[in-house]
Amino acid sequence: MSDNGHHESGVHRGVSVKTMEIVVALLTLALGLVVIYDSRRVGAGWAEDGPQAGYFPFYIGVILCIASVWTLWRTLFSGKAAAGVFVSHKKLRLVLSVFIPSLIYVAAIWFIGIYVASAVFIGVFMYWHGRFAWTRIVPVSLSVPIAMFLLFEVWFLVPLPKGPLEALIGY
């Protein structure tokens, strides 16, 4: 994955649109092939009692592959379709600074329950991105999970994932 002709200006450094177009088109192509493979496995033909399970998905896979190859072709052989920067390194860092904490948050729900994880997630996010004082972080990050708890567990009786802390207070 090179920077495809953007070396001259340091400002616009990043992943090029062309690279991403190719990556995404290859991914959809791969998915199309998986669909075709699996449809053939379960049978994409005609049984005595009618179409087999893979009959319809098989064609879906074929069309998905054709569309992916079409996009690949356009990206590689017609220059105007894919010019410019997809995301600069600076912006990519911003996006990851949201995505990675969200990933950790979702993983944390497994272990400590959604309420505690949400409180920590909101608090850390506010501190990291907004540089808020603790006097504002603590009330916000506590009030949201408490409101959620009342809404779901108490009023609507919809159970959400809970951890050791909730077990301690009897839920």
């Binding site: 379960v42 996009t71 979702v106 506010m126 991105h129 808020f132």
Partner: protein, 508 residues
């Protein structure tokens, strides 16, 4: 006037104290969803859907559709005051709405937007009232081939009328169909594309996809732009409203045109976003003051708002009568109907009269309640937008996670939601349209079963799709839609070719 008495019956269903309260809550939640970045009509309804499972279906659909109306209204607030479209269909509203607000006419711009949306929606509801029973009655004679043909028409119109490149529209759509096929095939009992994992047995739920694609994807995009909300203050008082209402009647032609475009684009699933742009463009061309568009013309707010609301409302017509939603939000509502055990389609009008007419009556009431609420509560919503993004973003991620979890009480869904978020981010940046993906995911099983039944009827002959006049003409229309860009291009080339004979050949 059978429709009229049915409608009155509907009002008696909708006008209970309880339903009015749900309507009120729905509108408030909807405006909130429309105002906040990362939450929109489709994923807002998707997140709240599980909470309504315990409610009676009529009340639930009234509340959910009111969330939708609220979101349509809410999009205009951010566009006009902050120049940030809260929803894609309000992008065209920023062109003239924001300049109006900056020149001190914020109240006027907002009143214009709300009133236009109201008018657009109201006319669309009237269209639904009288057209829907006819469409439903007509489609009672549909068999599996006809239903598949209508679905084909839906998807072909996406390719032909959509903004994205056909290759990308088709890829997004096929991805939706492929995801819909994952899991247990109910006809043959075969497991498809589960690759031995028990969690995939259930398949991919479109609600998870909607929450991820539109919610998380939007947050990632917004973060990239490094949003700082700088808005115009707005106060609406009765004098401003009255003053604006006195000026509006002279734009009746623009409003009517916008509504017609909206209804057309809503019923054929072009969607609210292209409708609003098309209406704006046409209004600009036909207006006497067209060259002033973009500097704060009232007409430039009327045009996109009427079209967007008319499209958003009329998208429910094919959803109710044929079971084919015209927009992602209508698709989510359709998913809700299926969960409550109501099969959308022509029979709904016969078997669930109270439900259908209660819903249609609630559309009238919901839009009136909505107009009153947004006119009186604008300052609050503007205040919410002044809350920094670093507080709103994590809260929205938390809400999306809860929404994804409550669909099936499964942690895997929350992880999938994040994956769909990445897909949404990539697809939006590369101009892959998301609406066909969602619609294909919702309609996948239905399209497959009508295709299978048709094939069973004809013993595998594809010719069943042009075996009679009805199915043949729908299929022909579908093909016309599919190749529409090619046809227009060829027509333009023909016309240019004729000109070339008269003039000198232009140098390529």
């Amino acid at each position: 006037m059978e429709e009229f008495s049915s409608l009155m019956q509907g009002f008696s269903v909708a006008l209970t104290y309880q339903n009015l309260m749900f309507m009120f809550i729905g509108i408030l939640l909807g405006v909130l969803i429309g105002v906040l970045p990362g939450l929109g009509g489709a994923n807002g309804v998707a997140i709240l859907l599980p909470l309504t499972f315990t409610m009676p279906p009529t009340s639930a659909i009234i509340m959910l559709s009111c969330i939708y109306w609220g979101a349509l209204f809410g999009g205009a607030i951010t566009s006009i005051l902050f120049n940030i479209p809260g929803e894609p269909w309000s992008v065209a509203t920023t062109f003239d709405g924001h300049p109006m607000a900056k020149s001190g006419r914020a109240g006027e711009a907002l009143t214009t937007a709300f009133t236009s949306s109201f008018v657009g929606a109201l006319i669309a509801v009237i269209v639904i009232t009288f057209l829907a029973p006819l469409v439903a009655k007509f489609s009672l004679q549909f068999g599996p081939p006809e239903f598949f043909a209508v679905q084909l028409l839906t998807f072909c119109s996406f390719v032909g009328l959509g903004k994205g490149h056909p290759a990308k529209t088709i890829a997004a759509m096929m991805l939706g169909f492929a995801l819909a096929a994952v899991g247990l095939d109910t006809v043959t009992g075969t497991l498809r594309m589960t690759f031995g994992t028990a969690e995939l047995l259930r398949g991919f739920d479109f609600l998870i996809a909607v929450i991820g694609l539109f919610g998380i994807g939007e947050i990632l995009l917004t973060m990239e732009e490094g949003l700082a909300f700088k808005g115009v203050h707005a106060r609406i008082n009765p004098r401003v409203v009255w003053h604006t209402w006195k000026q509006l009647p002279k734009y009746w032609m623009t409003a009517l045109r916008g509504t017609l475009i909206g209804c057309w684009m809503g019923i054929t699933p072009g969607g609210a976003t292209p409708a609003s742009f098309m209406s704006y463009g046409i209004a600009k061309r036909f207006s006497k003051t067209g060259e002033k568009f973009g500097t704060g013309e009232m007409e430039g707010v009327v045009a996109p708002e009427t079209a967007a609301h008319a499209a958003g409302t009329s998208a429910l017509l094919p959803m109710l009568t044929l079971g084919i939603p015209g927009s992602p939000t209508a698709a989510v509502l359709l998913g809700g109907l299926l969960i409550w055990g109501l099969q959308p389609g022509p029979l709904l009008f016969v078997e669930q009269k109270d439900f259908v007419w209660g819903l249609i009556a609630s559309m009238y009431l919901g839009n009136i309640v909505g107009l009153l609420i947004v006119l009186t509560t604008v300052p609050w919503w503007a205040a919410i937008l002044r809350v920094p993004f670093s507080i709103i973003a994590p809260i929205i991620v938390v809400i999306c996670a809860i929404g994804a979890y409550t669909v099936h009480n499964a942690m895997l869904d929350v992880a999938l939601m994040l994956l769909f978020g990445v897909v949404g981010y990539l697809f939006k940046k590369l101009d892959y349209p998301l609406a066909p993906l969602v619609l294909a995911l919702v309609l996948g099983d239905m399209a497959e079963s009508s295709f299978r039944q048709s094939m069973l009827l004809s013993r595998g002959e594809v010719s069943i799709f042009w075996s009679n006049g009805l199915v043949g003409s729908i299929c022909a229309l579908a093909m016309l839609m599919l190749f529409w860009p090619v046809i227009t291009k060829m027509l333009a080339r023909l016309r240019r070719g004729n000109n070339d004979l008269d003039e000198a050949r232009p140098v390529e």
